[in-house]
Subunit: 241 residues, 2 copies
């Protein structure tokens, strides 16, 4: 392998979106005396994620970034979860919780180590400002920020994976996607990219139903980002299968 750049899925792979949002919103709600099932809201909110992107992908919506999709689905869920008393500024603050997600404990150390040898970028369905604000707060050491908004397409559209290779002026086999989701890796592999799987078995909490292990012929499988960095530093990647 002659990998020069590593792209990362972010939600679930680098940051613990579910744990972060439930923790932050629970504390925020408690301080205001709100009686809300925050875990239920967060799960329902994430449940609206793929369908909302599919509306863009099918052309039923013009290009809409993830902040706007999140805000729309939050607005739809708010009455059901008893968020009716909140004003626009409150809902905007809740929506920006996606900018404040915290990394898994191994993420920053793994990325810092990989940054010495590789170009690092997210390749996320998040938008630019979300990913920049998150990186600033969580100290994610990206060299650049590429995402769905960069290309006007959501993953798994091939425009995202191939667009990243084009902007980096690298061939697909010089670029690797690291993700905790087999479907994302499969789409990248179909575009010719290298692939690395790391499991995040608690991403969905008690609702996790898949991605407990590798389900494809990925170039690298590692326990977490620290182990992945060590593997890439040793330059002897081992396939999963």
């Amino acid at each position: 392998m002659d990998v020069r750049a590593i792209l990362f899925d972010v939600f679930g792979t680098v940051v613990d979106w579910r744990g972060s949002l439930i923790e932050e919103l629970s504390a925020w709600g408690a301080a205001r005396g709100l009686d809300v099932d925050w875990a239920g809201l967060v799960d329902a909110w994430r449940g609206a994620y793929a369908p909302s992107m599919d509306q863009v992908r099918r052309g039923e919506l013009p290009w809409t970034n993830l902040d706007a999709l999140h805000r729309a689905s939050l607005g739809e869920l708010a009455p059901q979860f008893g968020l009716v008393g909140l004003g626009p500024a409150d809902l905007e603050w809740v929506n920006r919780g996606w900018h404040r997600l915290r990394p898994w404990p191994d993420s920053v150390a793994g990325l810092d180590r990989l940054k010495r040898r590789y170009i690092l970028s997210p390749l996320s369905n998040g938008n630019v400002s979300l990913l920049v604000n998150m990186a600033k707060q969580a100290r994610l050491p990206w060299d650049l920020v590429m995402c769905a908004e960069t290309f006007g397409h959501y993953k798994p559209d091939p425009e995202t994976y191939l667009g990243a290779c084009r902007l980096l002026d690298l061939s697909p086999d010089q670029v690797m996607l690291c993700a905790a989701h087999n479907s994302d890796l499969a789409a990248a592999q179909r575009c010719g990219l290298r692939t690395a799987f790391i499991p995040r078995a608690t991403e969905y909490g008690p609702h996790q139903s898949r991605d407990f292990g590798p389900e494809g012929e990925w170039d690298v499988v590692a326990a977490d980002l620290a182990a992945f960095a060590e593997r890439m530093d040793r330059s002897v990647p081992e396939g999963a299968a």
Copy 2:
């Protein structure tokens, strides 16, 4: 001022393109026994820069990134400067010299200091891979990389300045452009951005004819990037005029 992000012109403002290219190419040519007026070539090459971008801006060329514009003008200048014996790989190596430019002595320290409080991005006419490779080698600590290629427009088109604000989800008065060129700052100011001028009086060597000092009502004027960082850290920016 409530500045959240600082954008930087790169060629001339952050890196010494002329000194870097002349030094590197002279050493490279000497090792190969080439008798070439390298300073003359570099000056003529840079002279082709604005006209080639103008062809894109006027629609005479489809969108073409700076690597490709540089490569085309190098090909046109090669015979005149006695580069006829070089093969495609050599010319490509010369062309990639723009990816290897070195920063001015104050640049990295200034950017490192600013990064603690502000979102930092280039806003350059260079392309993404050029800016990423440069940053990797020169240790420029960008939070993200935005440039002409991001927007399909070259500066001073307003799509570049306003596109950067849009991707960052900031209003123009929360974004500052730092540049050594008054014309770039004037275009940014017309879009509502904040402005900072630093002089780079030796950028063009003996051919420098302008930009020795501020020529507009810029929000900040500083001697170099280290002084600019100190000024922004103190949060008491002073206008030039």
